[in-house]
């Protein structure tokens, strides 16, 4: 969780990676707009236009800060979100030592990661609720819950505004799934840290 949230200077650099068609860019756009338009922070959003965007790897860079951002490109992310193994391999070495890693559990083997990892089977959850295309929104809900870089309210409003008309309700449901999963994960870690692993300790 972000401890700097309430401190004077806050700056978070977030890199989302995956492959084309997973809605990586959309997730980045929602995150950036939620931070600026709803939470009233500064934010920048850049989508990668490298050769990899043609069908292969794809990424979105979002910076959220409470001060003016002078340069929108990220070289050392605080938060790395990976939805493909290729994206993971490419960026894992750039993450800051105290950074957070969020991965799509079924698609990524987070070998050699030395930072705190949060994983969610977003694609499977999306398939179970009938729409594989919503894995990005589930991931976004998860991200909102575990990192708190944007507020829940801001994220929900922005999802509603940016997703195609007529799909708002489905997307909100997907977002909430990811959010619930994130909250459950945090709760589980808290309980485990307190030595309560099961219902009968």
């Amino acid at each position: 969780m972000l401890k700097e949230r309430n401190q004077d200077s806050m700056k978070k650099e977030i890199l989302i990676t995956g492959f084309g068609g997973q809605g990586i860019v959309m997730a980045g756009r929602i995150l950036g707009q939620a931070a600026s338009l709803e939470d009233h922070h500064e934010s920048t959003f850049v989508q990668s236009y490298g050769p990899e965007s043609r069908g292969g790897a794809c990424s979105a860079q979002v910076i959220i800060s409470n001060q003016v951002i002078h340069y929108p490109y990220i070289s050392r992310p605080d938060i790395l979100i990976c939805m493909s193994q290729a994206g993971y391999e490419k960026f894992i070495n750039t993450i800051k030592p105290d950074g957070m890693l969020l991965v799509e559990q079924d698609l990524i083997n987070p070998r050699n990661a030395e930072v705190e990892i949060f994983s969610i089977p977003a694609t499977r959850m999306a398939e179970e609720s009938g729409n594989k295309m919503m894995a990005n929104i589930i991931m976004l809900g998860f991200l909102t819950a575990v990192t708190e870089v944007v507020s829940l309210d801001a994220a929900l409003k922005t999802v509603t505004r940016l997703v195609p008309e007529g799909t708002e309700e489905k997307n909100i449901q997907a977002f909430n799934k990811g959010w619930d999963y994130g909250r459950a994960t945090l709760k589980g870690r808290e309980k485990k840290a307190a030595g309560q692993t099961g219902a009968i300790s």
């Binding site: 619930d180 459950a184 994960t185 709760k187 099961g198």
Partner: protein
Amino acid sequence: MNSFHIILFVCNWGPHSAFQKLQDESADIPAEVKMVRIPCAGRISKALLIKAFEMGADGVMLAGCHPGACRYGSGTESARQNTEDAREILELLGLKKDRVRFATFLPDDSEAMLRLLKDFSNEIKRVGKSPVIPTRKPAPGPIDKKKVAEVVAAHDIFACQDCGKCSSACSLAQMGKPFSPRVVANSVIAGDIESPTVIENIWACLTCGLCYERCPSAVNFPEFIRDVRHVLSKSDRAGHETHGGFFQSMMRTLTSPDLKPEHWEWLPNDIRSNPDGKVLFFGGCAPYFDIFFRRHLGVRTRKILVDSLRLLNFFDIEPALLSDERCCGHDLLWSGDQENFLKLAALNVESFHHLGIEEVITTCPECYRTLKHDYPEHGVEINFKVTHLYEIIEKEISKGAVDFKKMDQSVTFQDACRLSRMERMADLPRKLLSRLKPKGFQEMKDHANAAVCCGNCSWIGCDSFSKALQVQRLRQAHDTGSNLLVTACPKCQIHLQCAMEDPFIGEEIKMEVEDLSSVIARTICWE
């Protein structure tokens, strides 16, 4: 009337000689003591001890022979155990254990007896008048045929097409009982309600609902039976209550508004509840079952409640508990006592409303069905939501980050008729079962909506056909190759375990039984 009523059960042998001596000497036996002479103190069952209180006693003393002096050998010990259990039950009921006492006397112990009677009488006066209002027993009389006709019309029994599907499905008929729901329905329509066979059949039905499941005309036979039983009871033609009517006595006692039961005193300290919460956990009668059956079946249904609460706590849900919780009334309703059912329903709902409860969680399928459907259907309005524990647990688990430990047992599942058939929720426990990690899971031959009954409902008329049914069911469970029978209702556990006590085939049909809530609670963990 403010006078006290103390019942003194006196064994025919030693204690009666002592009592007679007091009478002969015109000793000043406290006036509130009413003596009842009995053949042996060991024959005064828990049911009889509690019945005295249902009928308005303020105190009961059981006088038996000295240990070793019992003419029948085990009478003293039985009496001691029964009194001990009855005292605990009185505590649960909120009547205080001091109202029952057991003492032993030799024939020449008259002085000691007098001292003890005076002491007990003072004690009862100190504890005070019992808040129990005796319920009236209906007077014998002719069966109200008009009412029967109304029940027939209300359930549209005329829709029966005489196809016989119900009779070929009926669990009792399958066991060879000369019993047919079709014939019962048609006899009642024909006005043949006075016939002893018809009456016997009306009380024999298990209300398991298998016939309704099969009926092409949707004749709801179990509810029809339930309501005909009500009419029969009103003319004193109640069925045979099992266990000496203990459970009916306990439920009727609980209908007294001034009684303050102490339902949760026994709960382990580490369970977290929230007295101001708007979500309430309604436990049901498990605490009574465990005391009543502890010397016979080793029943441990309180564990179901503890494990359910632990599961809620696992997900950080801290429900409110009703310290003076009463029975939901299910068994009174299904055994024909609608009047007392309604009293319990009104008292429960009043308590919920008083606390501003918005949602009631139950783990017992009977409580679930009763609170959710039978209260409103019988005119007791509810303004709270009724949720089964499984619904909440499933919702929480599906949020993710939860895992289950591997089990070293293979499991099969006994459906609860109230949940799987009547509430059409057979899929829900299965969804939870599919999340577990047992060695294997195998359904019994008859399962889900077609599952076979555990053999008894509402503590009415348990007989050899019930036993045969249970044996058949346990054989089906063994046929799956499983070694753990998972249940969803405390009573399925009790009745099926009862069959395993059979001295001849008990070993063969024995199987470990555990409630689904307990299985989940002991295997769930954070991922």
